[in-house]
């Protein structure tokens, strides 16, 4: 069966790279993969969305049908809400909690968190803080990959291996930061109080 994931966030937060990481890992695990990206004008602080489809059979088309996604992975809380129509009734929303309030009518953050927590199955992760603790704020998207890992049809070891391969050129220190971020994400999802 096909398992679909909507990836959401704001231009500059690494949504496309998150998709690239998960797509490569899915492929390494022997799955069929389609990754739909939206490029172009969405690069400058605008809403960015990607669709990741993973399957053990050929996938027909890159677009995720509404109401069927296994999960939404969002690097920003408001963006997490934007694509709910794609989420299956039993699907999960995994989102970072830190707002990117670069628009004048950004809703109050408490209200936003309350709306997210009211969803049937939401995992809120303070991904920015965890990424900083891991060594770099810029690993926020990798924290999110870790938090979503229990819901992905990808083995955790494959994600680790993918990070090793992806950052090989940047050296051990960068690999370590990203691995710490991945683990921190997974632990936070398992125990949301973290």
């Amino acid at each position: 069966m096909t398992e679909d994931f909507v990836l959401a966030g704001v231009g500059g937060q690494g949504v496309i790279s998150l998709g690239a990481l998960l797509a490569a890992a899915g492929r390494s695990d022997g799955l069929e993969v389609q990754l739909a990206e939206v490029h172009g004008m969405a690069q400058r602080g605008g809403a960015v969305q990607a669709g990741l489809r993973l399957s053990d059979k050929p996938i027909h088309g890159a677009l995720i049908p509404e109401g069927r996604a296994r999960g939404i992975l969002s690097t920003e809380p408001l963006e997490g809400l934007r694509y709910l129509r794609y989420l299956a009734p039993d699907g999960v929303l995994v989102t970072a909690t830190e707002p990117e309030a670069n628009i004048p009518d950004y809703p109050p953050i408490e209200e936003l968190h309350a709306r997210l927590n009211a969803l049937p199955h939401a995992v809120l992760v303070d991904a920015v803080r965890l990424a900083r603790q891991a060594g770099s704020r810029r690993a926020t998207n990798v924290v999110l990959a870790g938090a979503a890992s229990p819901y992905l049809p990808i083995r955790f070891e494959t994600l680790e291996a993918e990070l090793h391969r992806a950052f090989a050129a940047k050296g051990e220190a960068v690999i370590e930061i990203n691995l710490r971020a991945l683990h921190a994400g997974r632990e936070a999802a398992a125990c949301p109080a973290l």
């Binding site: 690494g14 390494s28 690069q43 027909h60 509404e66 129509r85």
Partner: protein, 588 residues
């Protein structure tokens, strides 16, 4: 979930799977968590032993480019434009490494196409890449090149943008291929984008016509595994022996036009038998025939399991249309549903004007939306399936988050100065163009009032001034100016028009990923002066936050000048600066 087996080649060695972490995306998103390429896909492709196949996760536009590289192109030309840009970036990276093919960004799509035509005339294969509206710019050479006797294969990869993710219209390039009376191929998926691209070169040489490969955003900008086959070598130089067949004097052109009409007969015959157009009968079609073109096939297949029966299905991937196959299908079913991305090209032809014995369903009948992208839901509904609602959003929908000029973008400073300089005029007009600076239409600047097509702002400001509205201001980026802004400026010079042209010189094509502008900044002023602009009213300003008051003052003076002024506002795009730094770090 069961894991699909990893494919192996004939020697039993696992196929190499790797991922092209596209440099541009990496650099555009600007985060640490972007992996460096694990390995260089194209390098690996080239170094593969001649009988191995390779599998890679490629975007549709990259797959088309790889097909062209493997078809042995000698040269490739393009102007950046979403969603076609990445196709050419693959060629550029390959060319930088291997020294071949010749590849560089051109000043616009027309010059790109004409260069490709020259390559073809001397017998070698060439590729030209553009977005759909780019073909409007290249339309003159494109339409006329259908008449010449194409020698080396010439393929135009044109990416349409249904849904207008990053474009000003939804035009459907299939009409262009039809208009030029040439062959058009429309891939259904990534693998076919690669295969059709390769096949297109053979077809171009076989029928001696250019071939248009039509992509759409959703294919161009999604990734999937693509198996590539060993490449072919470049063709030797073999200049046409019949220059008459390339010289469209009326006397020659009449003969060549007759040839093209003749070739069209052959094309229609070829289209009936070609493997890209497939008719599959079903014993259980319940009187329904479904015709899909391009990527619509995927949306149809996705919905099929829920349908509970199997319509008879004609898939079309090659044009001109296979008319006999269409008639066969119509003879057997009572209703035909047409699923195509873009304009109702096929549907309109099936309907014609007079009543048809078969019911035709599509966008014109209201079964599918007439605008925007085709979606799996829309196809499901057209097939009579119920939609599946997702999770309902309680409360207010999230506010829009439009793209913005980067913090620190030089356009911000120019717009701040322009808005201030125009403040005291009771009326004015600002005609802009296409680029990041089009975002100046949005708050907080709300500085521009039009954006129509590449270069239009210059001519429009002249027109407004001719009509009597002053001050008339045109705002254009440096790359757009070189693309299509010089010729209207010549008109303004000749007329001595009272208008002010502001060239935003950021040394980059910002919107498509900060490619280099074809001419360096230092050449803009001499170029403008060379056209005959009065040196007193050609000013080069520094677009910097600290200089906004100075810019405002200079703009006020030029707005007040009752003649033509050109103001060049210079500062490098910050994305471009960042990319350059990254390139320097990587040592290239």
């Amino acid at each position: 979930m069961r894991r699909a087996p990893v494919a192996t080649d004939s020697s039993g060695v696992a196929l190499i799977t790797f991922f092209d972490f596209n440099h541009r995306i990496q650099d555009m998103t600007g985060i640490v968590a972007v992996p460096e390429p694990k390995t260089d896909p194209e390098a690996e492709l080239r170094s593969a032993p001649p009988d191995t196949t390779l599998e890679r996760l490629l975007m549709g536009d990259e797959a088309a480019a790889c097909g062209a590289l493997d078809a042995g192109i000698s040269a490739a030309y393009a102007y950046p434009g979403t969603p076609a840009t990445e196709a050419f970036e693959v060629v550029l990276r390959h060319s930088a490494r291997a020294g071949r093919p010749v590849a560089a960004w051109s000043v616009n799509e027309k010059t790109a196409y004409e260069q490709a035509l020259g390559v073809s005339m001397v017998g070698r294969r060439s590729l030209v890449v553009m977005k759909h509206v780019g073909l409007n710019v290249a339309a003159d050479p494109f339409i006329n090149s259908a008449l010449v006797a194409i020698n080396g294969g010439l393929v135009a990869v044109v990416a349409d943008d249904p849904g207008m993710h990053s474009s000003q219209n939804e035009q459907d390039s299939r009409f262009y291929a039809d208009f030029a009376r040439i062959l058009c191929l429309e891939p259904r998926d990534h693998q076919e984008a690669y295969e059709m691209s390769r096949a297109a070169f053979d077809l171009s040489e076989r029928f001696q016509i250019p071939v248009l490969l039509r992509l759409v955003t959703r294919l161009a900008h999604s990734r999937s595994a693509v198996v590539t086959l060993p490449g072919e070598p470049e063709r030797p130089i073999a200049k046409t022996t019949d220059p008459k067949s390339w010289t469209l004097l009326p006397a020659n052109a009449r003969g060549l036009w007759r040839r093209l009409v003749e070739v069209n007969r052959e094309l229609r015959e070829w289209s009936e038998g070609c493997s890209f157009n497939r008719l599959e009968w079903s014993d259980d079609d319940r009187g329904l025939g479904v015709i899909t073109t391009g990527i619509a096939a995927g949306y149809y297949q996705q919905n099929l399991p829920e349908l509970g029966f199997q319509p008879s299905h004609l898939h079309i991937g090659a044009y001109p249309l296979p008319q006999a196959k269409l008639r066969q299908l119509a003879a057997r079913v009572g209703c035909i549903l047409v699923l195509e991305e873009g304009y109702p090209y096929l549907e309109e032809r099936l309907r014609g004007i007079l009543p048809t014995p078969v019911e035709v369903r599509g966008t014109l009948s209201g079964h599918l939306p007439e605008t925007g992208e085709l979606t799996p839901e829309a196809v499901g509904i057209a097939l009579g399936l119920a939609s599946r609602p997702g999770i309902a959003l309680a409360g207010e929908p999230p506010p829009h988050r439009p793209p913005q000029l980067c913090q620190g973008c030089p356009h911000r400073d120019t717009y701040a100065a322009l808005v201030e300089a125009l403040r005291d005029y009771p009326q004015s007009i600002v005609n802009a163009d296409i680029g990041c600076y089009t975002l100046g239409a949005l708050p907080p600047y709300s500085a521009i009032e039009s954006c129509v097509c590449m270069g239009a702002g210059v001519g429009m400001a002249k027109g407004a001034s001719d009509a009597g509205l002053r001050p008339a201001v045109a705002v254009i980026g440096d790359s757009t100016f070189l693309h299509s802004g010089i010729t209207p400026l010549i008109d303004a010079v000749k007329a001595g028009t009272d208008m002010t042209l502001i060239i935003l010189d950021n040394a980059a094509v910002g919107m498509t990923g900060a490619q280099d502008t074809v001419l360096p900044s230092t050449r803009l002023e001499p170029l403008v002066l060379g056209l005959g602009v009065d040196p007193e009213h050609c000013r080069v300003l520094d677009a910097h936050p600290r200089r906004v008051p100075e810019m405002t003052e200079a703009l006020k003076q030029e707005l007040a000048h009752p003649g033509l002024s050109v103001v060049i506002a210079v500062r490098e795009c910050i994305e471009h600066a960042r990319l350059e730094k990254a390139r320097a770090r990587r040592g290239r």
